[in-house]
C-alpha cells in the first residue's frame, strides 16, 4: 500500500510505496497505475509507475494537488487487471558482434561467459516499468550470480536492440542511446514501434519476459 503521499512541485502527486524493490510492491504500484488510468480522472495528464513510486501529474488549470491526493486516497482498487499481463518471448543473439561486455562480465562475475548465458536464459523476468527512452523495459530479478554495477564510463552509443545487465535488473535498448549497462546480446525484434499506435510497446509493466537464445542465422532471418 501507499506509505506516504507528497507533492512534487505544484502539479504532481508523489506516491511512495516504501524503499524496497520487489515484485509484490511493484505489482501494487502497477495496480494503482491501472486503476487511476481506468478512471480517466479529469485533469490528470500522466501516471508514471516505477519500482516503488507512482507519480500522478495533472493540469493545474483544471485540478489541484489536494483534489488529486484525495482521489488517490479514496481510490477503490476494485479492478485487478491481472489478465492483461502477458508472457512475451524475446529472441536474443549473443554471438561475436553483440556480446559487447563478454570480457568484462567474465572478469567481474568470475564465471565463464557460457555459464553467464546459461543462468540468464534459465529465468523468466518481470517487467517493473518502461521508460527513460520510449519503451525501454526494466526487468528483474536476475540471479545473484549475475549482479554487477554499470560501466564506470558509460558508452556514448549502445546499439539498438542490446540486452543489458546491471544489479538485479536487465533491460533492452529500444533505440540507439547512451548507456552504461553490461551488454550480453541483441534482439532483432522491434520492441518499440510508434506505428503500432494503440500499443507501441511490446513489453508493458506487469508482463513476464522469457529470453530465447538464437543463432546469427536466425537473427538475420527475423531482422529481414
Amino acid at each position: 500500500m501507499i506509505k506516504n503521499i507528497l507533492n512534487l512541485g505544484d502539479a504532481a502527486v508523489y506516491c511512495d510505496f516504501g524503499k524496497d524493490v520487489n515484485q509484490e510492491i511493484n505489482t501494487n504500484v502497477i495496480n494503482y497505475f491501472k486503476n487511476i488510468k481506468d478512471k480517466k480522472i479529469n485533469g490528470i495528464i500522466n501516471v508514471t509507475p516505477s519500482y516503488n513510486k507512482l507519480i500522478v501529474s495533472f493540469d493545474l488549470e483544471v485540478t489541484s494537488y489536494s483534489k488529486v491526493k484525495k482521489i488517490i486516497e479514496n481510490l477503490e482498487l476494485e479492478k485487478k487487471f491481472e489478465n492483461e499481463n502477458k508472457l512475451v518471448e524475446i529472441p536474443v543473439c549473443c554471438d561475436e558482434n553483440f556480446k559487447l561486455d563478454h570480457d568484462r562480465l567474465e572478469k567481474k562475475l568470475g564465471i565463464p561467459f557460457d555459464k553467464v548465458l546459461e543462468i540468464f536464459f534459465r529465468k523468466e523476468y518481470f517487467c517493473y516499468m518502461t521508460g527513460f527512452i520510449a519503451g525501454m523495459p526494466f526487468l528483474g530479478d536476475t540471479s545473484e550470480k549475475l549482479r554487477t554495477k554499470r560501466l564506470e564510463t558509460p558508452r556514448v552509443k549502445v546499439p539498438k536492440g542490446s540486452i543489458g545487465l546491471t544489479e538485479q535488473f536487465c533491460n533492452i535498448y529500444t533505440y540507439e542511446s547512451p548507456g552504461g549497462w553490461n551488454i550480453i546480446g541483441n534482439t532483432p525484434l522491434e520492441i518499440f514501434n510508434k506505428e503500432r499506435r494503440s500499443d507501441p510497446a511490446l513489453i508493458n509493466p506487469g508482463d513476464k519476459v522469457k529470453f530465447n537464445k538464437i543463432t546469427q542465422e536466425e537473427y538475420d532471418k527475423i531482422k529481414r
Binding site: 512534487l8 512541485g9 505544484d10 516505477s50 519503451g135
Partner: protein, 319 residues
C-alpha cells in the same frame, strides 16, 4: 484573381532548432514518451490569440536563429511572438522591419527572415491558415531525440517545404504591446530528496547564483557555479520525472527537466520549479545568472492563477 493551387513556404534557411509544436501529448509517460510541446506557453497562446486561431493550433518554434521562409501562394497572415528580430522581404525587394505581436499579411514570393531572438531562446511563428502536419498521439509536437512527432520527428531542414491548407480567412491586423518583464528569481518548491543535501548545500541553493550552461536544450537545462553536496546517496531507485524537477547527479551540478525530458531518472531531486515560472525559465540563455527562491505549494498555486490571469489580460488587450 486567380487562385494559386499550392500554398507553401520554401525553407531557404532552416535556423538552429526549428520544429513544429503544439501543447504536447499526454498520458504516455508510462511508456517513455514525455509531453513535449511548446517551451514558452504564453507566447504560444498569444501567437494564436492574435490571429484568432483555435488555442492549440500548431506553430513553428525556433531557437536563437530562426528560419528564412519564402511564401508561395495566396495572401495569408502571420504573427511572430517572443523577443524576436525579423524582417519581411517583399517580392519587390522592399524590406520591412518586423515587430513581434503584430499581425502581418504576406503575398506570393514574399519572405519572412527571422534573424534572431534577443536575450532569449525561443520564438513562435503562427499562421492564419493550417499547416499540413502529421499527428501522432493527438499532437504534432516534435521530439527530435525520440524521433516522434510531425516532420518524422526531425527539426526543419533547408529546402524543405511547409505545406499550407488555405482557407482564405480574412484577418484583422491586430497587435499587442507586450514587453516581457525579466524576473529576479526562479521560484521553486522543495522536492522529495531535499534532505539528501548538506545544510551548506541547502543554504547555497537558495542564496547563491547559478549559471545556465550551453548544455541546455528542450530536454533539460544544466547549471553550474555551485556544487551541491549530497550527504546520503547520489543515486536513488529510478522513478518518474516531471517538468521543472531539479535533479542533482553525483558531480553536484543541478539539471532542470524541460519539455522533452526522460520520463524516469535516478538522481536525487532537490527542488521543483513552479508552473508559473516555466516560460521564463525556458527563455534563459546560456551564461545567464539564475537564483532560486523557495515558495510553498499554496503560494505556487496562487502564482499560477496570477500567471493565467496575466495571460488573459494580455489577450484582452489585443487591439
Amino acid at each position: 484573381m486567380t487562385k494559386l493551387k499550392d500554398n507553401y513556404f520554401e525553407i531557404k534557411r532552416a535556423g538552429i532548432n526549428t520544429t513544429f509544436q503544439d501543447s504536447g501529448r499526454k498520458n504516455l509517460n508510462h511508456i517513455g514518451i514525455p509531453i513535449s510541446g511548446v517551451m514558452d506557453k504564453r507566447n504560444f497562446t498569444l501567437a494564436n490569440a492574435l490571429l484568432k486561431n483555435e488555442t492549440n493550433t500548431p506553430v513553428i518554434e525556433f531557437a536563437y536563429q530562426g528560419p528564412l521562409l519564402e511564401f508561395n501562394g495566396d495572401k495569408i497572415y502571420f504573427v511572430i511572438t517572443g523577443d524576436v528580430k525579423f524582417e519581411i522581404i517583399k517580392n519587390n525587394k522592399q524590406k520591412i522591419t518586423g515587430l513581434p505581436y503584430n499581425v502581418y499579411a504576406i503575398e506570393n514570393k514574399d519572405k519572412i527572415d527571422i534573424q534572431s531572438t534577443n536575450k532569449s531562446v525561443y520564438g513562435y511563428l503562427s499562421l492564419s491558415e493550417n499547416i499540413i502536419l502529421d499527428e501522432i498521439w493527438d499532437s504534432v509536437s516534435t521530439n527530435t531525440k525520440a524521433k516522434i512527432g510531425s516532420n518524422n520527428g526531425d527539426k526543419l531542414s533547408d529546402n524543405q517545404k511547409i505545406k499550407i491548407h488555405h482557407k482564405n480567412r480574412n484577418i484583422a491586423l491586430s497587435k499587442l504591446n507586450y514587453i516581457d518583464k525579466k524576473i529576479e528569481y526562479i521560484r521553486v518548491i522543495k522536492a522529495t530528496n531535499f534532505d539528501y543535501f548538506s545544510e551548506k548545500a541547502k543554504e547555497v541553493f537558495f542564496n547563491k547564483d547559478f549559471k545556465v550552461t550551453k548544455l541546455s536544450d528542450r530536454m533539460g537545462m544544466r547549471l553550474e557555479g555551485q556544487i551541491l553536496e549530497n550527504i546520503i546517496s547520489t543515486n536513488i531507485k529510478s522513478e518518474g520525472l516531471v517538468k521543472g524537477v531539479v535533479q542533482v547527479p553525483s558531480d553536484g551540478n543541478p539539471i532542470i527537466m524541460l519539455a522533452d525530458h526522460g520520463t524516469i531518472g535516478g538522481y536525487p531531486k532537490i527542488a521543483n520549479v513552479i508552473s508559473a515560472d516555466f516560460d521564463k525559465l525556458s527563455q534563459m540563455t546560456p551564461g545567464t545568472t539564475i537564483k532560486f527562491k523557495e515558495v510553498n505549494l499554496e503560494e505556487a498555486e496562487k502564482l499560477f492563477k496570477f500567471y493565467n490571469l496575466e495571460t488573459t489580460n494580455l489577450i484582452n488587450q489585443i487591439s
